[in-house]
């Protein structure tokens, strides 16, 4: 394969933002027809920048791009598509009320031959769909399609426009395990049909499963390009992070095992139009991590927000160390010792336009107040403490929190909640979108809290995470708790069945 000239040759690509940020530093990147290359790297390593340069969203500061033997730079994505380079972003660009065929025709200035009208386009879509095993109905409305199907529509959109090179940005982030398998089958077909594919990712097992070669980036540089078959997960992690990782979890015997939080027949407020879910009963003890497993959107957030007082409980009671807190406000529950790390860090967990210091005040503004005025020096000390204790990478506490990377922002939010020594820590999707280095730190802190005697209620859609951290595991399906089991009794198969809606009693027998 190396004998033939590559389809794409990016040489000495350098991209600077302003004077100080070097996002890409003299990067070489080749791609051949008929191969899948995984572009691997932590957040902020420069993967997206490199792909955006290729796709015409950024102009490189230096370097050349050769595509199909011709030197080019694309002014915008439209030009890149015209030349046969297509990119699928994490957020799909589809108009929901329109059909698949309408979405494909929309905005296409250079229609493929014989696709001039809707009927011909439909026929062509069916053909392509059959060729690649995409199973997409041209007349289906996007809003009726599942996430995995929508992604296939995006792929179809690129094939429809004769894309030779497909870039997929974190393609599996929103998929179930089954959908991921289906996607990989499609990618295999594309490969055997001579397409070149780049998948941008930081999930190691996917890299091993689908790619021919792996290009590893770290802090703006291309550190290695290796054949997947000649490498191991451990070696790739080392290349990506620059050191060995310790993901093992140190559990010690907790100091106390008393009941921390008790939910008795708590009826969660139903979403508008949704039917009411059965009431939940749950006990959380000090010194344990109770994991809530479940596919995203099965009532985990609603339950936790009810515990935190962001939603009212319709009926039932919530007690914290024997004290009924059902009627308390969020502020009062915080003061009583409940902390919460929400799944949406930027939209809920932090005030992104304000400084780190202001964000450390959030949730405990009373503690920083004297005679009605904020005590800024007290807040600064607390902010500096969070920064140093959790290794938040920032120039100082005045830095706008929204400009922190995802991992650093999560460290800030988690650090703030933990620094108040909560009796109960609620945490949702603790490592969503984080790179391995940050995951290591967040996991370590959750276990540290548990060992210190805090009661941790952690909802995660990542089974791996649930199994690694939990002492007990509850599974939620359509707002209902399907059962609670100790970790050593839990298997992936058992949890999977419960996540699909079967009760523990039905499965365990």
């Amino acid at each position: 394969m190396t004998d033939i000239a590559p389809l794409l040759r990016m040489q000495k690509i350098t991209k600077r933002f302003g004077a100080s940020v070097l996002a890409n530093d003299c990067i070489d990147f080749d791609l051949h027809a008929g191969e899948v290359v995984a572009l691997l790297g932590e957040n902020g390593a420069g993967k997206s920048t490199l792909m955006n340069i290729l796709y015409g969203l950024y102009e490189p500061t230096e370097g050349t791009i050769e595509f199909d033997g011709i030197e080019t730079t694309f002014r915008d994505p439209a030009q890149a598509i015209e030349h046969g380079i297509g990119m699928i972003h994490q957020e799909f660009m589809l108009v929901e009320p329109f059909t698949v065929a309408e979405n494909l025709l929309m905005g296409t200035t250079t229609l493929p031959e014989g696709a001039g009208n809707l009927n011909a386009a439909r026929r062509l879509i069916r053909e392509i769909s059959a060729d690649y095993g995409l199973q997409v109905d041209p007349d289906a409305r996007i809003e009726d399609l599942a996430v995995g199907q929508r992604q296939r529509v995006e792929i179809l959109k690129l094939l429809f426009r004769h894309a030779k090179l497909l870039i997929l940005d974190e393609p599996t982030a929103v998929l179930t395990p089954q959908e991921t398998d289906a996607l990989f089958e499609v990618l295999n077909r594309l490969r055997s049909n001579g397409h070149a594919i780049v998948i941008v990712t930081h999930k190691m097992h996917e890299v091993m499963a689908i790619s021919d070669r792996v290009a590893v980036m770290r802090s703006g540089q291309m550190v290695a390009t290796v054949k997947t078959s000649e490498s191991t997960e451990a070696e790739l992690v080392r290349l990506m992070v620059g050191r060995d990782l310790d993901m093992s979890v140190d559990r010690t015997e907790p100091k106390q095992r008393k009941r921390a939080l008790e939910l008795v027949q708590v009826q969660v407020e139903a979403r508008e139009g949704a039917k009411a879910t059965p009431p939940a009963t749950l006990t959380l003890r000090h010194g344990e991590v109770l994991g809530i497993a479940g596919v995203d959107g099965n009532g985990q957030t609603e339950l936790i927000e009810t515990i935190f007082g962001l939603k009212d409980a319709v009926s039932g009671s919530i007690t914290l160390e024997g004290r009924d807190i059902t009627a308390l406000s969020t502020a009062e529950r915080r003061a009583a010792g409940i902390g919460y790390v929400p799944p949406d860090r930027r939209g809920v967990g932090a005030l992104v336009t304000l400084s780190i210091e202001d964000n450390v005040i959030l949730g405990a503004s009373k503690d920083f107040t004297q005679f009605g005025l904020l005590n800024r020096s007290l807040a600064r000390v607390a902010a500096d403490d969070v920064i140093s204790r959790f290794g938040v990478k920032t120039p100082d506490a005045d830095f706008a929190s929204g400009n922190l990377s995802g991992g650093n922002l999560q460290k800030l939010v988690l650090g703030r909640e933990v620094s108040r020594d909560p009796k109960v820590l609620l945490i949702e999707q603790p490592t969503r979108g984080l790179d391995v280095g940050a995951i290591e730190l967040v996991w370590g802190e959750i276990i540290e809290q548990r060992n210190q005697g805090a009661a941790v209620l952690m909802a995660s859609t990542e089974l791996e995470e649930i199994l690694a951290l939990s002492d007990r595991i509850a599974v939620m399906f359509e707002g209902e708790i399907m059962g609670v089991i100790p970790r050593d009794k839990a298997t992936t198969a058992l949890l999977g069945a419960m996540m699909a809606g079967r009760r523990l009693e039905e499965v365990a027998l």
């Binding site: 939209g347 005030l351 304000l354 107040t369």
Partner: protein, 362 residues
């Protein structure tokens, strides 16, 4: 030659760039407005000279400028509180009029035969200002209540309530409170009830000091206090604020009360410092121009105070220019509006630069 906008790698955020761009916007606005002098065969240069000279460089004129700036400032400070709390209030005109009405109500009670006729003047004025502020606060508080409790649209409700206030004042001065005479207005309040003039040879009254004091108070609340922090958090992102235990609805209602109270106080001050009676057309858009000064002052207290003085100066200077040279003061209003638009346009230059056929410029 091709002109295009290109995104800056790092946006300009320094204070100096803001000052430079603001000055640039003012100059361009004045040059554009200058064209309007030409049909009168007048020199824009002399026109502006008369305008600026009258507004800022004569003692009497500058006094008027500060008098005009006083209610603008207070409405501007109210805007800072309400808007930064996420309460997009446009009802200052109404609050101001209701405050003026409340203030007059107390003053009329001090006339002969009234229940306050034996009270000390200082007490009457104090009561009048407090009552004006209270009515203004309640007027805005009603809008806040409707928004936070029932999800009403604060923009629409406030605008409609402005009309209510305007016609209520019109009704009072034309009917129940009308004094004998040709003009629809109330009886003039006795001199001992007027706010004292604080600079001899000018009409500058003590209300200006009240405005400055309210500015300091608002600055402390918004920049230094817990209440202000929670208000700003509520305005930036209500979901984050609720997550942080902040009672967003209550903070917004408080913001409405403060904003309306400031406008009501400004209305009462206008009665006791300037007109000394309630009359139709008393506010004439002050409640809206005050919002503009807050926007021009970039939602900061000192910026709003400066913008109010400049805006007040342009109005005063424009009137003087019209009297002296016969040029229409509408030119000044056009210049004012152009400057506002240009200032908003300079926002783009903070994140983008203008590229002229390859050569880079600001």
């Amino acid at each position: 030659m091709r002109v295009s906008l290109e995104k800056r790698d790092t946006p300009l955020i320094s204070g100096w760039s803001v000052v430079a761009m603001s000055v640039l916007a003012v100059l361009i606005g004045m040059v554009l407005g200058g064209v309007l002098f030409l049909p009168f065969e007048a020199s824009p240069w002399e026109g502006y000279q008369s305008l600026i000279g009258n507004a800022f460089f004569s003692k009497r004129g500058f006094g008027y400028t500060l008098v005009t700036a006083t209610p603008l400032m207070m409405v501007g400070f109210g805007t800072i509180v309400a808007w930064r709390c996420g309460f997009i209030f446009l009802g200052f005109e109404g609050c101001l009029l209701i405050g003026a009405m409340g203030g007059t109500m107390v003053g009329l009670g001090a006339l002969e035969g009234g229940i306050l006729s034996t009270s000390a003047p200082a007490l009457v004025v104090t009561l009048a200002l407090i009552w004006g502020a209270t009515l203004g606060a309640l007027w805005a508080g009603l809008v806040g209540e409707l928004k936070t409790r029932f999800g009403g649209n604060e923009v629409l409700i406030a605008l409609m309530m402005n009309f209510l206030a305007i016609y209520l004042v019109q009704y009072l001065v034309a009917g129940p409170w009308r004094v004998v005479g040709d003009m629809p207005q109330t009886e003039r309040l006795p001199k001992d009830l007027w706010l004292p003039y604080i600079l001899s040879g000018t009409r500058l009254h003590a209300g200006f000091l009240i405005a400055l004091a309210s500015g300091v108070a608002i600055w402390v609340v918004m920049a230094k206090s817990r209440v202000g922090f929670e208000m700003i958090a509520s305005g930036l992102n209500p979901r984050s604020a609720r997550y942080g235990g902040i009672l967003v609805g209550i903070r917004q209602r408080q913001a409405a009360l403060i904003a309306g109270g400031l406008a009501g106080l400004a209305g009462a001050i206008t009665i006791y410092g300037v007109h000394h009676r309630l009359l139709d057309g008393l506010s004439d858009g002050t409640g809206f121009v005050g919002i503009v000064t807050a926007l021009l002052g970039r939602m900061t207290v000192p910026g709003t105070a400066i913008a109010s003085v400049l805006y007040g100066g342009l109005s005063v200077g424009g009137d003087a220019m019209q009297r002296q040279t016969g040029l229409p003061s509408s030119i000044v209003l056009i210049v004012q509006a152009s400057i506002v638009l240009l200032l908003l346009a300079t926002e783009v230059l903070r994140t983008h630069r203008i590229v002229l056929s390859g050569r880079r410029k600001v």
